[in-house]
Amino acid sequence: MDNKIENRLLEIRNLKVIYKTDSDTVCAVNGIDLALDKEQTLGIVGETGAGKTTTALSILRLLPQDIGEITEGQIIFEGKDLISAKESDMRKVRGEKISMIFQDPMTSLNPVLTVEQQLYEALELHNTQNKSKSQLEARVDEMLELVGIPKNRKREYPHQFSGGMKQRVVIAIALACSPVLVIADEPTTALDVTIQAQVLAMMTELKNKLGMSMILITHDLGIVAQTCDKVAVMYAGEIVESGLIEDIFESEKHHPYTVGLFGSIPNLEIETDRLSPIDGLMPDPTNLPFGCKFHPRCPKAMKICSRRTPPKITYGTHNIVCHAFTREDETNEKRRR
């Protein structure tokens, strides 16, 4: 067990987020708990609409104004609750302590500002040590070098860069102020495989070099396997399974949803004639099923699943939220240890 208090960087407790649209209310995140230690990488996987991005945006309090709203929960970062923090304090956290890399590099850079201006801005905003202009500019060059962009191209505009390079600029911006935590929201989904490999390799390298923690949001289990230390599987705004990377990839016991996810991807190593995906679709987030949210699609669904919210069963570092596993299993496991 490595959840010693001094090592804990971020802890999310019972977070609930809703989106209010003019016709109905979307329950995007329904009480999730997450914890992340220093220098750890947490992977969040899940289908479209599971609430991954919402969780990430909640941490930075960047939910769309007037629509997204955190209704409950705490986000404790370095011992302070971010949800009750003042907006001006949040601004200091953003970019300086926690920064975020968004999914689409094509649109996350401002088309009318040069790469240098955008990178410089990030530094200038958090210039706590009152560095001079030339120092900041030197830092811009350094950051570009770090992500592998020749500094003579810094006066160019985003559209003159390829997708991979843009994503690297976005990464450079995110890392400019050496934050403690980087949240990467599907950073490579929009990129080609070869470029994706480049970017991921670079991110992991930088993360280790700079000693940061990272939350990596993705729906590619391959990426998770390659980069993460901990994994959380999200489904319909809830975390259905979480644990260390080994727990998810090598343990015997799994939430049926996780099983389905693995069954859905064609495996390069094992020959399969047919895939064994999960049937059905994600539930409507405005009208979630009662009890276990997954039960309508679950091949092992029992009567109780539609009646009662499943308990969280813990096997050491491995948590599963499912009726199929009982408290007894949990205690047996403990005893065995």
Partner: protein, 297 residues
């Protein structure tokens, strides 16, 4: 027979959700648009029932020397004009002309511009090039001047005014339709239709136009308002409406001399124009928002 019944049954069971209903639902939420629609309905009702409100021959046309330039009173709610005609009657009857000018010119120019725009946008190539150059030429003459020149050439009359305004609006519509069609033509479902072997005409009418129609309708609505203003402007400088037919712009133009001492003569038709344009603009805005897919949820 049973199959027939079956098909009908299925259709009934899973009745189409009308998209118009959907748009209407969204539009209903927009208070301003509903206000606009209400005002507009009142205006239309007013112009339809003009004959009930005041007799055309007796009140709107007939001159009466003893009633010249009477200020608003209980007998004449809006007063009388320089010929002693009742202003309310003229305004109500004028609404018929003004509103129908707006709709008629927009309708025809939208039709012609729509056909041209859809063809040029869909086919592209040399045809597009030629038509668009032609439209460029027409566009480089200010539309109001073009209208004035055409009316001068053909002689002022309501019909010629309509023709002139229509012609002067065609290039604008062609452009708008063309650009919306261009965005639609780039979509995959057009390619899909082609892959099915649909003919061009069918693709244009079944796939391209229904998808381009939203922005075009919005433009059209806004254009009705613009046309009412343009027609009023042209009547104001004495082109178009022939006396003693009442039309708002023309009423303004006639009233202009009397403006200093009888301001109600210009205020009333002006407000009539402004209100109708205002309501149509509100509807147009509302429609645009209702049709905007990004606001869908």
């Amino acid at each position: 027979m049973t199959q027939e019944a079956n098909a009908v049954a299925i259709e009934k069971k899973y009745a189409k959700k009308s998209q118009i209903k959907e748009i209407w639902r969204r539009m209903k939420k927009n208070k301003l648009a509903m206000i606009g629609l209400a005002i507009f309905c009142i205006l239309v009702a007013m112009s339809l029932s003009a004959d009930l409100i005041a007799d055309y021959q007796e009140s709107a046309i007939k001159q009466n020397g003893s009633l010249r330039l009477q200020p608003p009173s209980w007998e004449h709610y809006f007063g009388t004009d320089q010929y002693g005609r009742d202003l309310l009657a003229r305004m109500v009857h004028g609404s018929r002309v003004s509103l129908s000018i707006g709709f008629f010119t927009t309708g025809i120019s939208l039709l012609i511009g729509g056909i041209l725009g859809a063809m040029t946008g869909y086919y592209g190539g040399i045809f597009d090039e030629i038509v668009m150059r032609l439209m460029d030429i027409l566009l480089s003459i200010p539309s109001i001047l073009l209208a004035i020149a055409i009316v001068s050439a053909m002689g002022p009359s309501l019909l010629n005014l309509l023709i002139a305004i229509t012609i002067s609006q065609i290039p604008g519509f062609t452009r708008i339709v063309r650009s919306t069609v261009l965005t639609v033509v780039g979509e995959d479902y057009i390619e899909a239709a082609r892959a099915c072997g649909s003919k061009d005409f069918r693709i244009i009418t079944n796939d391209v136009l229904p998808n381009a129609i939203g922005p075009i309708i919005v433009q059209g609505t806004m254009s009705v308002a613009k046309m009412i203003l343009l027609a009023a402007g042209l009547s104001f400088i004495g082109l178009g409406i022939q006396p003693p037919q009442p039309e708002w712009g023309y009423m303004l133009s006639e009233a202009r001399e009397y403006m200093r001492d009888y301001p109600y003569l210009v205020v009333i038709p002006g407000i009539a124009i402004a209100i109708s344009v205002f309501s149509i603009n509100l509807i147009g805005d509302g429609l645009r928002d209702a049709l905007d897919p990004r606001l869908k949820n």
